[in-house]
Symmetry: C2
Subunit: 236 residues, 2 copies
C-alpha cells in the first residue's frame, strides 16, 4: 500500500524536518536548565529572568511540533510502524515542554531567593545536580535521534543516581532548616528547585523509554529503578 | 473521501469506545484523589496503601487508550478534524495518568506522616483543597465528553481559586514550621501533598483547554503562544 518510493520519501522528509524541531527544542531546554542553575548559583537576576522569558520559545516549538505531526498523519496516512514514530515525536516534545516549565520555575524561584541571604553551599549542590540532569537529557535525545536502545537503557539505569543526588540534597536542606529556622522559607524554595530538577531527570528517562519502545516495539517491562526514597523519610 | 456513512460510523464507534475508557479512567482518578485525601485526614494506612496499589489500573488504562488511538488512526485514517479529536483523547489520558501519580504519591506520603503526631488542622485544609480539585476534574471531564466550551472556560476561570487555597495552605504550613521545628519534616511532606493537589488542578485546566481546542480549533489565546515560531527562527 505504502510501497510507492515517492510516498515513502515524503514521509521520511516530513519526519526528518519535525525531528529537527525536536532537536532544537531539546537544545533550548538543556540550555535553559543550565542557565537557570547558574543564575541560582551566581545570584544573577538578569539571567534568571531571561530563562523565564525564553520558555515561550520552547512552548511555541511544542505547538509547532504537534501541529506538524498532526498534518503529517493526515497527509501521509502512515502505516502502524510509522505512526508509532510520529506519536513518539509528540510524546518527546511533551516531555521537553515540561522540562522547560521546570527551568522557568527555577528562574522564578531564583529571583525570590536572591532577595535574602544565601543558604550554605546549597546552590553549589543544585548546580551539580543540574549538570548531571543536563547530561541525562542530552544522552536521551542523542539516543532518540540515533534510535540507540543501548544508550537509552544506560540513561534509564543512571536515573537512580540523579535520585540519590536529590535525596542527599533533601537531607542537606532539612539540616539547614532544623539548625536555623530563619532559612525555612528559602529552603522550601530550594527543595522545590531540587525536586523539579529531579523531575527533569524523570522526563529524560521518559524519552529514553520512548526510544526503547520505538526500537523494540514495547515499553521496558521492568519497573525502573527508583532511588528517591525521601517520600519515605521520617527525618530527625 | 470519508463520506461513506459506513466508514464514518466505524470511526465514531471506535472513538466512542475509546472515550468510554477515558471516562472510566477519569472516575478512577477522581476516586483516588478523594480516597488519598481521606486517608491522610483519617490517618488510615490501609486506605492509603489501596490508593497506591490501584494506580496500576490507571496506568494500564492509559496504555490501552494510547494503543486503541494508534490503532484507530492506522485503521480509519481519519481526516484532520477527526484526527485532532483522537490526539486530544491521548492528551487527556496523559493528563489523567499524571493525576493518578499524584494521588499515589499522596498515599505514599500519608503512610509516612502517620508515623508521627498530626500537625494542627493541616489535613483538614488538604481535604478541602482535594475536594475542590476533584470538582474541577469532574467538571473538566464533563466538559470534554459534552464538548462544552463554556463549562471548560469556567473550569479554567476557577483554577485561580485552587491556587489561592494552595497559597493559604502554604502559609499555614510555614507557620507551623516556624513555631515548632519538630514539625519541619512532616510539614515538608504536607507541602508536597498540597503542591501535588494544586498540580492536579492544573491538569484539570489542561483538559479544559483541550475541550476549547476541540470546539473552537485553537487553544485559549491568553494561555499559550500559538505555533508560529518565526520569531525564533534566526535566534541565537
Amino acid at each position: 500500500m505504502q510501497t510507492d518510493p515517492h510516498i515513502l520519501r515524503a514521509f521520511d522528509r516530513d519526519l526528518h524536518s519535525v525531528q529537527a524541531l525536536v532537536v532544537r527544542m531539546g537544545a533550548l531546554v538543556e540550555e535553559a536548565i543550565g542557565k537557570a542553575a547558574q543564575a541560582l548559583h551566581g545570584r544573577d537576576d538578569a539571567l534568571a529572568n531571561s530563562v523565564r522569558r525564553e520558555d515561550a520559545a520552547i512552548d511555541a516549538l511544542e505547538e509547532q511540533i504537534n501541529a506538524d505531526c498532526a498534518r503529517l498523519i493526515a497527509l501521509r496516512q502512515p502505516n502502524a510502524g510509522d505512526l508509532r514514530t510520529v506519536l513518539s515525536v509528540m510524546k518527546v516534545a511533551s516531555n521537553l515542554e515540561r522540562c522547560g516549565d521546570y527551568a522557568k520555575n527555577l528562574g522564578k524561584r531564583t529571583t525570590v531567593l536572591n532577595q535574602s541571604a544565601p543558604i550554605g553551599g546549597l546552590s553549589a549542590s543544585v548546580l551539580r545536580m543540574a549538570g548531571a540532569v543536563q547530561q541525562q537529557l542530552h544522552a536521551a535525545l542523542d539516543a532518540y535521534i540515533k534510535r540507540d536502545a543501548d544508550l537509552a537503557a544506560s540513561v534509564r539505569a543512571r536515573d537512580s543516581e540523579i535520585d540519590q543526588i536529590y535525596s542527599a540534597l533533601f537531607r542537606e536542606i532539612l539540616t539547614h532548616m532544623l539548625e536555623d529556622p530563619r532559612t525555612i522559607t528559602g529552603c522550601m524554595h530550594l527543595h522545590f528547585i531540587a525536586k523539579n530538577i529531579e523531575r527533569v531527570g524523570d522526563h529524560a528517562t521518559g524519552i529514553a523509554e520512548q526510544v526503547i519502545y520505538l526500537v523494540t516495539g514495547a515499553l521496558p517491562a521492568d519497573q525502573r529503578p527508583k532511588g528517591d526514597t525521601t517520600a519515605f523519610e521520617t527525618g530527625a
